[in-house]
């Protein structure tokens, strides 16, 4: 085993790290930004609005991410209409295709996560908001969404990590992300173990960083679920007068 090929070529990995981080964070931001209104409409919209959202979620959850990416990157290029359109400069870039696919994919999953937690809002809290004279929009903004986001946080942190790991697929369509960097090193030195264990360590480091920040957020957001004050909890002394 020779890790000097890694340390000697660390700049390839750093380039990959940069690409992975940009790709994942941009698609998560775009996906979440689209998912919030879609999830709300999926819950309260009329059937004509709900139906296309359902179809969208169904498609993106029903097919593998790799297939979706191939469809966008290779599939669209097959049509002359696409090649002639003003969108082609965007769609011929692997980077844009990966970003688009990842965003839509994570959006579909996030819609379902949010929908579940919106539906799970305690009925009494909604009723109290109605009785206080809140309009639907205000209720959404002040009661339903804040409460739903809190419930969605554990599931969404999973989705963030899945997205990070799913982004390894971007290397298949020529993008140099962390996996892409590992493939370059592997083919240059033919040392797959060193190349991919390094990639794995990079992914682990990112994952643990994400988990750390989610913990912080949970501490802040889930204060209403935790025991009031840990220091107050005392262990009761055993009763002395118990006989038999």
């Amino acid at each position: 085993m020779d890790f000097s090929i890694i340390t000697g070529n660390i700049d390839v990995y750093l380039e990959g790290l940069k690409n992975t981080l940009i790709l994942v964070s941009l698609s998560l931001i775009a996906g979440l930004a689209m998912a919030i209104p879609l999830a709300v409409l999926r819950v309260i919209g009329n059937p004509f609005i709900q139906w296309p959202i359902r179809a969208f979620v169904y498609f993106f959850r029903g097919t593998p991410l790799l297939v979706q990416m191939f469809l966008v990157y290779y599939g669209f290029g097959q049509f002359d209409a696409m090649k002639d359109s003003f969108l082609w400069p965007l769609f011929k870039e692997a980077y844009f295709c990966a970003l688009l696919t990842f965003s839509l994919n994570t959006c579909a999953y996030t819609v379902e996560i949010l929908r579940g937690s919106i539906v799970a809002t305690p009925h009494g809290e909604v009723e109290a908001a109605t009785a206080a004279g809140m309009s639907r929009l205000l209720m959404l903004r002040r009661i339903i969404l804040p409460s739903a986001f809190r419930r969605a946080l554990p599931a969404y942190s999973n989705e963030i990590i899945f997205m990070l790991h799913g982004s390894a697929l971007a290397s298949v369509i020529t993008i140099v992300d962390i996996t892409g960097a590992a493939r370059i090193i592997n083919s240059r030195f033919y040392s797959p173990y060193e190349a991919f264990i390094t990639a794995a360590l990079f992914y682990m480091a990112i994952t643990f960083t994400i988990v750390f920040f989610i913990r912080l957020l949970e501490k802040k957001w889930h204060a209403h679920l935790q025991p009031a004050d840990q220091s107050v909890i005392t262990i009761e002394a055993p009763h002395e007068n118990i006989t038999g």
């Binding site: 009723e127 004279g133 209403h224």
Partner: protein, 304 residues
């Protein structure tokens, strides 16, 4: 609540309703594409607000499917009155309360809050719905409701719970509201729990927080929907004491309850519902000492 369609074949732009003593104007309903008359008073804030009545319902009917729950309720609460609503379960007490702040839309009848009549129209399916959501929201913000299950917003601290409606619905200044909220929380005896979350409080404390939340919007009427039914027996007393204090202050309250002691001693008036109709109505003393109906006699005998 009011059948506007009977004005349909008239072509006047303005009218006068002698029953309600108010000027009417014509407006087109974009949904059903027909004209109807609205009383002017609803647009001119406070025009009819000189009314003695804090809240009144006339000929209120409500059914869920085939199940007729309310069969024509007439009830008027004057300012400062404390009305206990008694009745066995299924008699429509809670439904009556929920119709008052439009959590349930009555099938027919009139609801007036501080002189303002709630406008109801038929939607395309022929169901009743509020004609003007803004009006309903305004009316709801004048009524406060205290629920059996407290229904505090779990993700907010107690102080935020109390400040929420005044700040975001009534759009009052945060600093003023904060002061008032702390005042009311002190008054119900949980001034030391401002930054606690609802889950950290006992049932009695949660219900008192819910009462403070109701008080902080300074409502015309406070509606209590079985406020002590979900509490441990030893916590009931603290909530009833708070309600007693409110009654002594002269606040208008309508209390659906099973607490006979409260109804008898605290409320100024007691009504008894049986199968969707009011069968006893009078001052608490009258009703308890000389019930008019056999049904109420057996009811108190069973409850005492």
């Amino acid at each position: 609540m009011y059948n506007y369609s009977r004005y349909n074949n008239t072509f006047r732009l303005f009218g006068f309703d002698f029953n309600r003593n108010c000027l009417l104007y014509q407006r087109r309903d974009p949904w059903v594409k027909q004209y109807y008359f609205l009383p002017f008073s609803i647009d001119v804030k406070g025009f009819m607000n000189t009314s003695q009545h804090a809240i009144s319902v006339e000929q209120l009917h409500k059914s869920f499917g085939d199940n007729q729950v309310l069969k024509g309720i007439n009830l008027t609460a004057d300012r400062g009155e404390v009305i206990s609503v008694l009745g066995s379960s299924g008699s429509g007490k809670s439904t009556l309360l929920r119709c008052m702040n439009l959590l349930e839309i009555p099938n027919s009848g009139i609801v007036r809050v501080a002189g303002e009549e709630v406008l109801i129209k038929k939607n395309r399916k022929g169901e009743n719905q509020p004609a003007d959501m803004k009006q309903v929201e305004r009316i709801r913000s004048k009524l406060a409701m205290v629920f059996q299950q407290f229904n505090l917003w779990a993700h907010m601290t107690i102080l935020d719970n109390v400040m929420e409606a005044p700040v975001h619905v009534l759009r009052q200044r945060r600093a003023e509201v904060r002061e008032r909220a702390i005042h009311y929380l002190n008054k119900v005896g949980i001034g030391d729990k401002l930054n606690a979350y609802p889950i950290h409080l006992s049932g009695g404390q949660q219900q008192r927080a819910a009462i403070a939340r109701a008080l902080c919007i300074e409502p015309e009427v406070i509606l209590f929907d079985e406020p002590t039914s979900a509490l441990d027996p030893e916590l009931v007393g603290e909530v009833l004491q708070v309600m007693r204090d409110l009654a002594d202050e002269g606040r208008t309250m309508i209390v659906v309850t099973h607490e006979m002691g409260f109804a008898r001693e605290v409320s100024s008036r007691t009504i008894f519902l049986e199968q969707g109709l009011i069968i006893e109505d009078g001052t608490s003393q009258q009703v308890f000492d000389a019930p008019k109906t056999e049904r109420f006699k057996t009811f108190i005998a069973a409850m005492m």
